[in-house]
């Protein structure tokens, strides 16, 4: 009796493990296979993309599509634009958001609370509602199609999320630390830089990682507020057709897609924990 129920348990446990791995394989396949397909398409010679069934291990891998992107599409300039815009956005955006978050967490008055509520409420405003007037305004003040103009809009897009996360984080730093320093004669600036900022490092890292991804994903802003300054997300929808490919230059799209995907996959793999923390803390846009 005892033996058989024990064996039954063993069989059940074994089945459960098998079931778990089957579910695992299904989810992993659905997510990873399309990404793999984009990758192998990018190293397949354009002509071979018209093969049926699809060859998932290309016979003649080639970097031809990447070469074409660099030589004829100006890939490096677009990577440069993307890096400059995202870099400055993260740097300036983080500074002003830390300032704001600190004030929102430490100073309480009706006006300050109202300002915080306003910033969070603006999260709900869709960019299509503000697009046309903002576009005309940007042209009027000569910020249209300029780096400063784009960077202002990129920063604005990350402000609500960043302020929310950082404010909650500052709120968890005990005020007593600052009070003690204050009694020892530390000025406001000293308290901010020597006590609060060092403690905020992990939260700042988290928002920077997530904002990097958000900025790389930003499509609407660079599409409608610039012409000449092209970033990667816009470039991928405006690639030239090399052969007649039903309107999709899949050879170039897959190569450009992979260039965008590579940093994203690396980021996700390296910073999985920070990204999860950021997502769980709320406010991250899908």
């Amino acid at each position: 009796m005892e033996m058989s129920s024990n064996r039954k348990y063993q069989v059940y446990k074994c089945l459960a493990t098998v079931g778990k791995w089957i579910l695992f394989a299904m989810v992993a396949f659905v997510i990873l296979f399309p990404v793999y397909w984009i990758f192998i398409s990018s190293i397949t010679a354009p002509g071979e993309l018209f093969k049926t069934p699809i060859d998932y291990l290309p016979d003649h891998p080639t970097l031809d599509s990447y070469k074409f992107l660099i030589e004829n599409v100006g890939l490096l300039a677009k990577v440069g634009n993307t890096v400059i815009i995202i870099g400055v956005t993260l740097f300036v955006g983080t500074i002003i958001c830390v300032m704001g978050a600190y004030a929102f967490a430490r100073f309480r008055s009706k006006g300050v609370n109202l300002a915080f509520g306003f910033i969070i409420a603006t999260m709900l405003i869709p960019e299509v509602v503000t697009a046309r007037p903002l576009y005309e305004f940007m042209q009027k003040v000569k910020l249209f199609d300029t780096y400063p103009g784009l960077i202002i809009l990129y920063i604005s897009a990350i402000v609500p999320f960043t302020v929310l996360i950082l404010k909650n984080f500052v709120g968890e730093i005990p005020v007593s630390l600052e009070e003690a320093a204050s009694i020892d004669g530390a000025t406001f600036v000293q308290r901010l830089f020597l006590i609060v900022l060092p403690l905020m490092k992990p939260a700042i890292a988290t928002v920077c990682i997530i904002n990097f991804i958000t900025c790389l994903n930003n499509f609407f802003t660079p599409l409608y507020y610039s012409n000449g300054i092209q970033v990667l997300s816009v470039a991928i929808v405006q690639l030239p057709l090399r052969d007649n490919m039903y309107g999709v230059p899949w050879d170039l799209v897959s190569a450009m897609g992979w260039i965008i995907l590579l940093p994203i996959i690396l980021f996700v793999a390296i910073f999985e924990k920070q990204i999860m923390d950021g997502i769980m803390a709320g406010g991250v846009k899908a």
Partner: protein
């Protein structure tokens, strides 16, 4: 508190940059959009005159917009139903205790982190009848399968919704998972002792405890679907015809391609009102739910 009243000005200095930036990118454009919606502004024909409510009245006569509104409704409802059912399912998978868990939790972040335009452009090719990934996969089981997904209304709509789910469902699942993790293991232990099987403990314990969390999540996810633009722009351009056009896409086309600015503004105000009403109803519903 360490902050004296006299130090309030420091707070405003610190807040000012983010406040001015957000104000500049939201308040003025919204006011201007509302004003524009009462004007007939067509840049191509140089018209700019007061039009009262005619933009709003035209919305309901415009076949393109009616098709758009129809698909927007289908898109939001179908996508959200799948989000809830399969999102909870995927969250349960991510919560399973086994060796592949960490790997799985990492890779589900990939679709969330990918730009929609990359997914949309890849989707355009993936759903191609002859050379696409989807039909290639189906033909390995049904060799004679033929379907030009993006040319037929029904299949094009299904394809757009499928890609939307591919991108966002894992993200939804992660957020549901964070709710599941809050449930104490003791409850399951107690249920097990009382002889509850897996299904009973799921329907009697897990589901009721995460339902509030799931319904709360549905608010932003529905609003994001209502304002979804990138995917349709890059994948179908609203085609065939206007059958996969979403409201945010329609507004943008009117504002930037047809340059029918007043009309676009009226559509934008309508979208904003719908979002506002939806959020309000939801919050009322949630507060009832809690009582």
């Amino acid at each position: 508190m360490i902050q004296k009243k006299s130090l309030q000005w420091i707070a405003w200095v610190l807040i000012m940059p983010v406040l001015v930036l957000r104000g500049f990118t939201t308040i003025y454009p919204i006011v201007k959009t509302v004003l524009n919606s009462f004007f007939d502004i067509r840049i191509l024909s140089g018209v700019n005159e007061f039009a009262g409510l005619s933009n709003y009245i035209n919305i309901f006569k415009d076949q393109k917009v009616i098709t758009t509104l129809k698909f927007t409704a289908i898109f939001v409802v179908v996508s959200m139903l799948f989000h809830i059912v399969f999102g909870i399912g995927l969250a349960l998978i991510l919560n399973m205790k086994f060796k592949g868990r960490r790997f799985l939790r990492t890779i589900v972040l990939i679709p969330w982190a990918m730009p929609s335009v990359v997914i949309g452009m890849a989707g355009k090719w993936a759903f191609n009848n002859d050379y696409g990934l989807i039909n290639d996969f189906i033909r390995r089981f049904f060799p004679d399968f033929q379907l030009s997904w993006l040319i037929n209304t029904g299949s094009a709509r299904a394809a757009v919704i499928a890609l939307d789910l591919w991108k966002d469902l894992p993200f939804f699942a992660i957020l549901v998972l964070s709710g599941i993790q809050f449930i104490s293991g003791d409850i399951y232990e107690a249920a097990k002792v009382d002889g509850a099987d897996w299904f009973q403990s799921f329907f009697r314990i897990t589901l009721p405890l995460i339902m509030r969390n799931v319904l709360t999540l549905c608010i932003p996810f529905t609003l994001w679907r209502l304002t979804s633009f990138d995917l349709v722009y890059s994948m179908t351009s609203g085609g065939p015809g206007e059958d996969t056009s979403l409201i945010a896409y329609r507004i943008t086309m009117e504002a930037f391609t047809n340059l029918n600015v007043g009309y676009a503004a009226a559509l934008a105000v309508l979208l904003f009102l719908v979002m506002g009403i939806f959020s309000w109803v939801n919050m009322r519903f949630m507060s009832k739910f809690e009582n």
